[in-house]
Structures are given as structure tokens and as C-alpha cells.
């Protein structure tokens, strides 16, 4: 096949089209700047989104979900790899930045301007209007959500319907494959089309490998054009940026791109996450997880360091989660409508590091601390109790060293008898932070409060990497609001004549 060469130029080049990149595009395109958007993954239209998980994961999830931490107990790190980034396969849960975190970032990281209260409130309101943010209605809560509500009522827990960016949701429970109705306002159906309508040029299947510099300043991006089928390299591209380069490749790939481009400072350090796991319950009556918002009901427990959420799984994932093999497993598979699943996301204290391997791929070192595992244990025990309170006849805690199925609430105590060992729990993480963090101190941060690199003028980091710590709530809204704030200021500053 002939080699393909793509050349382009614009005021700003944005690498990555997820929560961060798309928001930067929305703000800068509507401020009148020309943009080129580079995205490693493909563009999937509504018709191209497969219903079966096998094909959906192969097309849209980075490495089929097999990107993991290194070490003896690898933890999957889920990310979308398509136009829209992880927002194209997420549940659309919306939470504003918690006030205690806002204060900590102001006090300890010198980010007072970035997270100034009034400015953020204005931006959150605008985002919520544009992205159709609303609490999940009773009509589409589904039995998985209703059961969780029932458990909360029985145990006196502060549950509530989840606020999502999916006001027109029809409860098809397929958010994780990409909403088939485009009801959920992921970036591929909201801000990317909006930026394109304002003149932005979108180049899917283009993987950035290096930020170009001239006289110390970021002036462009080069990389590889990928084959849509094999994902192998089929050409090269070079895109020049007249006013700035914005890196928004997500918390794992942004530090790799920065390191490949010779950016100094603590690039890749301070990685944090909200790892989690799930509990399944079997009910005598049908639950039918295939109907209802993928995630419709939640129990915030920030003060205890975790959050509980209903999480409807596609049949493929649910089946793999049920115990056994052979005849016993088959019998469970014949009545998949009788199961409910609820998950926990834990705000872990552990820090990790992302490094670039000699092959150019990321290596993520991260291990939960004993205190983090204790939170997981508490959360799983609570989920089990809630399942029984909602009427489950069997509960599958999914922890090693325990019976696979609990049949009485008294058995939940077994879970709490000894500290949880890392290898006894299947953790996975999809909320990732901090690998090019923002701050006033050059030694402990990579970008300043305006998200511009301390080291390289004209280079900006506008994604989850710039958040200095994890949050204890779902991060998309905070990523978008901080990026909006920085992009707005960038648009204002750039109104001056372009750099020669």
C-alpha cells in the first residue's frame, strides 16, 4: 500500500478527543480559532456501534480492556480509544468538583485561579445546559436501580438517582458500548460535531508520537496515520500549530507523549485512580438488567472514601462474573434476567507512576495501600448487605478465599474476619488522574494554573492528567470544567497577534 502523508496547519492542534480535548475544541472553535483535532481511534457513527460486546470492545476500548498496571497483580485500566475518548463508552455520570477538593487544590497546589468558585459554577451550569444533564427518571431507572433504592430505604442509606448527561435516555443499558440512540451526550455526539460545525478539522486514526518545538516553543505535532482494520501504521502526518499545541490524550498516554517530546519535570508521577469492583446478587424475581440506565442509582459515601453505584452489565460480562463452569454455569446462563449488579469506586490514597517503555508504550506502576484495600473490603461488605436487604437469595462477593455464593446475611461477616489481600480482589480502574499535574510549584507539577507547560511555552495539557489529585466523585465534569476555564483564558490571550 502506498505510504500516506498528511500535512495540515491551524491555530491550535489538539491531540485526543475525549472529555478534555473535545471541551477545548468546543471553546476554541467557537471563539473563532482554526483547529485540527487528532485522534488515535476511529470515528464510529451510530450505525457502526456494534450491539455485541466482542466487536464493540475490539473497536472502541483500548487494547480490548487489557491495558493494565504492571506487577504481580495487574489491574485493568479502562479507556476509550475512539472519537469521543472514554466519554464515548462511559455512563455519563455527572458530579461537580467537591468543595473540599477545590479548597485543597487552591491551598496546596496554587490553583486558586483555575478553580475559582464563581467561574466554575458558571461553567458547570453552562456544561449542564449544553449536555442535557438531569437526574435519572423513574421510568428508565430499571429494576437494577429500583432494587438499590429498596436496599437504601431498608438500611437507611443516602441513595439517590444518578445525575447524567442523558436526559433523553431510553434505558437501553448499553452506555458502555456507546449509546445506540445518541441520547447520552458523549463528546462524539456533542462537542466534537459542534467544533467541526465551527470549522475544526477532525483526523481520526492519527496517533501523535511527538510534539515539535522551535526555539523552545511547541509549534506542531507529528505522528502516524493508522490503518482502520489492522491499526498498523500506514503513513505519517505533520500538523503545524500557529498558536499552541494542546495535549489531551488521557492520563496514561499524555505523559508518554510528553516524555517522548522531551518535556521535563515530574511527568508521569503522582498517578492516582478510583479503582473498584462489583457484587452480583441473584433474585427470585426477574431484574432484567438489559433495561434501565446503565448506571441509574448511587450511594455517595465520600466521608468513608468510596461510592456505590448500580451498574448494569451486558450479558457477556455478567456471564463471566457468575461462578462455576459446566452444567452449573449453564443453568445460571439460562436465567440471566435474575441478576443485579452494584459496584464500588474507591478513592485510593496510593500514588503510582506512568513511564514510557523502550517500545514507546506506557508502563504503569501502581499498588493500592493497605488502607485502600480496607476501604474496598468495607464497601464490598456493605454492597453484600444491601443485596440481602433488597431480597437477593444468593450474593456473589467476587472475592478470593471466600465462598463464591453467600446465602445468608450472617455470612457477610466472613468477609470482615481478616484483612483483604490484593490478590483476592479483582480491581479495575477507569477514573485516572494526575500524571501531568497542574500546580504553581515547578518541582511538583508539569503545567501551571492555566494548564500551560512550565517547561515549554505554547504546550498545554488539557485532560485528566492535569488534575492534581483524585476526587472521590466521577471525574468527567471536573475535567471539562477546568479545561473550559483554561481554554477560555487561552482564547482571550491568543486574541493578540499570533506568535511569529
Amino acid at each position: 500500500m502506498a505510504q500516506l502523508t498528511l500535512e495540515d496547519a491551524a491555530d491550535f492542534v489538539i491531540v485526543g478527543t475525549g472529555a478534555g480535548g473535545a471541551t477545548a475544541a468546543r471553546v476554541l472553535a467557537e471563539a473563532g480559532y482554526s483547529l485540527v483535532l487528532l485522534e488515535e481511534g476511529p470515528l464510529l457513527t451510530r450505525e457502526e456501534r456494534p450491539a455485541e460486546l466482542l466487536d464493540a470492545m475490539a473497536l472502541a476500548v483500548r487494547d480490548f480492556g487489557s491495558q493494565t498496571t504492571s506487577g504481580p497483580t495487574p489491574m485493568p485500566l479502562l479507556q476509550g480509544r475512539l472519537v469521543g475518548g472514554s466519554t464515548a463508552i462511559n455512563s455519563g455520570i455527572i458530579w461537580r468538583l467537591p468543595e473540599d477538593v477545590r479548597e485543597e487544590w487552591t491551598r496546596d497546589h496554587g490553583l486558586g485561579w483555575l478553580v475559582e468558585r464563581e467561574a466554575l459554577t458558571r461553567i458547570f451550569e453552562q456544561l449542564e445546559l449544553e449536555l442535557e444533564v438531569a437526574p435519572t427518571s423513574d421510568e428508565v431507572l430499571g429494576n437494577n436501580g429500583h432494587k438499590m433504592r429498596q436496599a437504601c430505604e431498608a438500611l437507611g442509606l443516602p441513595g439517590k438517582p444518578i445525575t447524567r448527561n442523558a436526559r433523553r435516555c431510553q434505558g437501553r443499558a448499553r452506555c458502555l458500548q456507546g449509546c445506540p440512540l445518541e441520547a447520552r451526550q458523549s463528546m462524539d455526539v456533542s462537542y466534537i460535531p459542534r467544533a467541526v460545525a465551527h470549522g475544526a478539522r477532525l483526523h481520526p486514526l492519527c496517533r501523535a508520537t511527538r510534539v515539535l518545538r522551535a526555539r523552545g516553543r511547541a509549534v506542531g505535532v507529528e505522528g502516524e496515520v493508522l490503518d482502520p482494520r489492522t491499526r498498523r501504521r500506514r503513513g505519517r502526518f505533520q500538523v503545524m500549530a500557529r498558536r499552541g499545541v494542546i495535549v489531551a490524550a488521557g492520563a496514561i498516554h499524555t505523559p508518554v507523549l510528553l516524555a517522548s517530546s522531551g518535556v521535563g519535570g515530574p511527568v508521569g508521577d503522582y498517578f492516582q485512580a478510583h479503582p473498584g469492583c462489583a457484587v452480583v446478587g441473584r433474585f427470585a424475581e426477574p431484574i432484567t438488567m438489559g433495561f434501565g440506565a446503565t448506571q441509574g442509582y448511587e450511594v455517595p459515601q465520600r466521608e468513608r472514601g468510596f461510592k456505590l453505584e448500580s451498574l448494569s452489565l451486558p450479558p457477556e460480562m455478567l456471564a463471566a462474573r457468575l461462578p462455576g463452569a459446566g452444567h452449573a454455569w449453564q443453568q445460571r446462563l439460562a436465567e440471566l434476567d435474575h441478576y443485579a449488579q452494584w459496584a464500588t469506586q474507591v478513592r485510593m490514597q496510593a500514588h503510582g507512576r506512568v513511564r514510557r517503555s523502550w517500545l514507546g508504550s506506557p508502563v504503569v506502576q501502581y499498588e493500592p495501600l493497605a488502607a485502600d484495600l480496607a476501604k474496598v473490603q468495607t464497601a464490598v461488605a456493605l454492597l453484600c448487605r444491601m443485596m440481602f436487604a433488597a431480597g437477593a437469595t444468593e450474593v456473589f462477593p467476587g472475592l478470593g478465599g471466600l465462598p463464591e455464593a453467600l446465602t445468608t446475611v450472617e455470612q457477610v461477616r466472613l468477609l470482615e474476619q481478616a484483612p483483604l489481600k490484593r490478590q483476592d480482589v479483582h480491581l479495575l480502574a477507569s477514573h485516572l488522574f494526575g500524571t501531568a499535574r497542574a500546580g504553581a510549584n515547578h518541582r511538583t507539577s508539569v503545567v501551571d494554573a492555566r494548564l500551560e507547560c512550565h517547561d515549554v511555552p505554547g504546550l498545554y495539557v488539557m485532560d485528566a492528567s492535569a488534575l492534581p489529585t483524585n476526587l472521590g466523585v466521577n471525574p468527567q465534569h471536573t475535567i471539562m470544567a477546568t479545561v473550559w476555564r483554561a481554554a477560555e483564558a487561552l482564547a482571550e490571550r491568543s486574541a493578540r497577534p499570533p506568535v511569529a
Partner: protein, 149 residues
Amino acid sequence: MRWMKFEARWASAAMEGFVSGRGAAFAPHPGEVDFVHALLVMGAASAPLARLGLRLAVWLAALSPLLLDGRLRLLSSVAPEQRGALLARLLVHRSFLLRELALYLKLATSLALFSVATLRERSHYLRALPASPPAPAARALPLVPSVEG
């Protein structure tokens, strides 16, 4: 990821083993599921280490009679009813690595099974699905044609 012919046979036997045993309403009919296709799709899209893990998982399952009971046999030559029991033991093995590999193969099996519409139906996953309100109209995605090949 290339599979040798014998490996593909081992993979099919192991994955069928997860749903072996007669009498259950779900039981796939012979030829109803293309197990190896699922492995190929997964392997092609996975990270190199995970690809290696898939291959190891197939070998582990194939050699499980030797590993678990010291019997010099392959899983494919064990009676179908006993294959499930061997795999179930691997899934709760005290070695973390063996458990994880077995679970990985079980996930691949689930992905293969539920790619088949008739099996989705037999799982009753969507039984009694409430009627959804009419779908909202699709919004056209204004796109600029990008790289032309």
C-alpha cells in the same frame, strides 16, 4: 495472533468445556458458536502481554487433567461432562495466576457465546423487556472527510 491448528482445537475444546453437560436449557448446539473467532478478535485487539495470556490460558486448560490430577491426558479427550468440573477447579485454584488465566478464558467464552443471537435469547437476558418510548431522531454528525487512503 496466529494459532496453530492443534491450539485452535484445544481452544475450542476448552471453551466448549465451560458449557459442557447435558440437560441445561442454555446448552449451545454443535457448531452454534465460533469460539476460535472470539479468541482471534480478542487477540488482535489486545496488548501483547494479554495475547500471551490468552495462549497460556488455552494451554493451561488443555493440560488441566495433567496439572490437577496427574493424568496424562488432554482436556479434549476427557468426557464432556467432566471438562466443566476440571475448569471449575481451575477457576478457584489457590494459585492467583492459574485462577486469572482460567477466568480470562471464561471471559473469552462468554464473549463468544453472547455474540450469537439465539443464545442471547436462550439466556433470557432481555425477557420481559418493557417497551421503550420511541427513539429520538439521529443527529447528523457534521464531519470533514479526513485522511483519504
